[in-house]
Symmetry: C2
Subunit: 311 residues, 2 copies
C-alpha cells in the first residue's frame, strides 16, 4: 500500500520510518521545501542507528520505499492511507483536512497525529468526515509502539477498524479511545501522576531525585511490561477484586488528599527545574536524549526478541 | 555486620536474601516455629532461581550467611541492624518494638517494613524511639531496589543516615520520605494513576486492555529507566521549565476534571476484574506471577550489567 505522510517534521519523519519498515511505500510531503530537503537525510541517519541496534535488517530497502513529493496532489494520488503531522494549530488542521478530503479517494482514511485538538474541531463540515480520525503516536513511534486512536462523534467504525488494523500490521500497539477526551488516555494518566509528584515535592515530602527513583527503581519496572491493572491483578492472591478489597480503603483515603487542583506554581516549577539542572546542566540535555533513545532502542530490541521467541 | 530479620514470611525471607547477598550475616527469627522451618527451604529455592538468572554468583556462600534463631534474644544479640516484618497490625508492631528496644544495643537501628502504619504510632513511648524508622521495600526487594525510608517526628537524623547507607551498600535504592505520609510516595503515585485509570474505564473512554497497553507500550517504557521528572525534562527543547510552559495549561485543564474522589464502586471493580479474568483465568494467576518474576529478574540482570559497564 502507498501511504501519504503529510508534514515532514520529527513526527512525520518517524511515521515514514514506521510505515516503510512495515513494508509500505511512503510518499512524504511538506509545504516547506527546506523541510523536504532535510527529511531524507535525517531519516537515513535514524534508520542507520536502528540497523546498528538490530531493529532494522535492510536499511537500504527500507529507505528505498520512502520518497519525497513536492506537491500534495502527487503525495495523495493513489495513497490508501494518509497520516497528517502539521503543527498543532487549529486553522492549519482545518485547512489541510479540507484539502485532503478533496484530494483523497473516498475510502481512504485521513488520520491526524495531533495530541491536543479533537477531530471534531477540524472535520465537522467535511463531506468525508466519517473517514477522519486521530492516530496519536508517542515520540518516537518506531521505538514506542502505543498509538491512541480517537474519532469524532461522526467517525465511522470502519475508519477506526482500518486504522487499528494498519497499526497492528506495522507493529504499533493501537489503543481505542472511544470518546473524545482532552489529553486522550496517555497524557491523562501522565498528568494524574505528575500532579501528585509535583505536590509531594512542593509539600516537602520527597526531593526530585527521590521521586524519580521511586518510579524508576520501583513501579516503573513492572509498568514497563505490564499495565497498572495487570500489576495489581498479580499483587493479591485472589487477583484484582481481592486487591481492591485489601487496598481500596487506603487509596480512597489518599484520594481525598489528592483533589487539590491548583496549578503548578512558578516557584514550584523553578524549584523542580533547578533540581534537574543541578543533576543535568542544560548543555547536556541533547546528549542525555541520545542516551534515552539508546535505552529505548535496547528495550525495543528486547521486545522484538521476546515476540520472535513467542512465535 | 550481623543483621536480625524479625518475621520470616515473604518479606522477611526476601530481606534475608538481600542482606546475605550484600555480605552480611543474617539471623532470621519468627514467633511461629513452622514459619521458621519453612523459610530456609523457600529461601534456598529463591536463591537457586536467582543464580540461574545470573543475579547471584555463589548461592552456597549466600545461604551459609543466613541462619535461623529460635529466640528473639538470640536473633538480636550482637546484631547491628534490625528489620521487622510482622503482620500489619498496630498492636503487634507496638509489642515487638517494645521488645526490640529492650533487647538491642542503643546504637542499633530498628527498622520496620510496614507499608501502612506510621512509625509514630508504635514508637512514641519507647526510650530508644530516636533509632526507630520505617524502611518500606517493594516486593520482592531482591529484584525491585526501591526502599522508602520514613521516620517519626522524633527519629534521629543519624538513624535515617545509617539506614540509607546500609540500603545503598546492599544495592537497594533508598528514597527519603521526609515527613510521615499515608501511603508514602510510591503508593500515592500508584494511587493517583490508578484513580484516573479506573475512572477512564468507568466512563467508557477505554477498556481495561487498552488502559494497560497505554502504560506498558507507552509511558512505562520511559519510566522504567527514568523517573517522571527526568522524562518531561527531556521532552521539551529547554528542559523541564520549558515543558511546564508548553504543557502546564493542558495538565491544569485535565486536573480540574480529575478531582472527583468517589471510591471505586463495587460494579466498577467487578467490571475491571471481569475483564482481567477474561484475559487471565484465576487458576493461571500463579503461573503469570512466575512469568512476572522472570521478567523482573531479566530487568535486574540487565540493570546489573549496565552498572558493571558504567564502573
Amino acid at each position: 500500500m502507498k501511504i501519504a505522510v503529510v508534514g515532514a517534521g520529527l513526527i512525520g519523519q518517524a511515521w515514514a520510518i514506521v510505515f516503510a519498515r512495515g513494508g509500505h511505500e511512503v510518499a512524504l510531503w511538506d509545504g516547506h521545501e527546506e523541510a523536504l530537503k532535510q527529511a531524507p537525510l535525517v531519516i537515513a541517519d535514524l534508520v542507520a542507528d536502528l540497523q546498528v541496534a538490530g531493529l532494522v535488517t535492510d536499511s537500504g530497502a527500507l529507505l528505498s520505499r520512502i520518497r519525497v513529493e513536492h506537491t500534495l496532489e502527487d503525495a495523495i494520488a493513489g495513497a490508501g492511507y494518509v497520516q497528517e503531522n502539521l503543527p498543532e494549530r487549529l486553522a492549519m488542521k482545518q485547512e489541510i483536512f479540507a484539502r485532503l478530503d478533496e484530494l483523497a479517494n473516498e475510502e481512504v482514511v485521513l488520520a491526524s497525529s495531533t495530541s491536543s485538538i479533537p477531530a471534531s474541531a477540524f472535520t465537522e463540515s467535511l463531506l468525508g468526515r466519517g473517514r477522519c480520525v486521530i492516530a496519536h503516536p508517542v515520540n518516537p513511534p518506531y521505538l514506542v509502539p502505543v498509538v491512541e486512536i480517537c474519532g469524532a462523534p461522526w467517525t465511522e467504525s470502519q475508519t477506526i477498524q482500518k486504522t487499528w488494523d494498519l497499526m497492528q500490521q506495522v507493529d504499533q500497539q493501537p489503543v481505542h479511545v472511544k470518546k473524545e477526551l482532552e489529553g486522550f488516555v496517555l497524557n491523562r494518566l501522565q498528568g494524574a501522576l505528575l500532579r501528585e509528584a509535583f505536590r509531594l515535592v512542593e509539600q516537602g515530602y520527597v526531593d526530585v531525585d527521590g521521586l524519580d527513583a521511586t518510579i524508576r527503581d520501583g513501579l516503573g519496572l513492572r509498568w514497563a511490561f505490564m499495565g497498572p491493572f495487570e500489576t495489581i491483578d498479580l499483587n493479591a492472591p485472589g487477583g484484582l477484586a481481592d486487591y481492591a478489597q485489601r487496598y481500596g480503603p487506603l487509596y480512597q483515603s489518599i484520594a481525598t488528599q489528592q483533589n487539590d487542583t491548583s496549578p503548578w506554581s512558578d516557584a514550584l516549577i523553578q524549584a523542580v527545574d533547578g533540581a534537574r539542572r543541578a543533576r543535568l546542566p542544560k548543555e547536556q540535555l541533547a546528549q542525555r536524549r541520545q542516551w534515552r533513545d539508546r535505552r529505548l532502542m535496547a528495550m525495543a530490541a528486547d521486545r522484538a526478541r521476546r515476540t520472535a521467541e513467542d512465535n
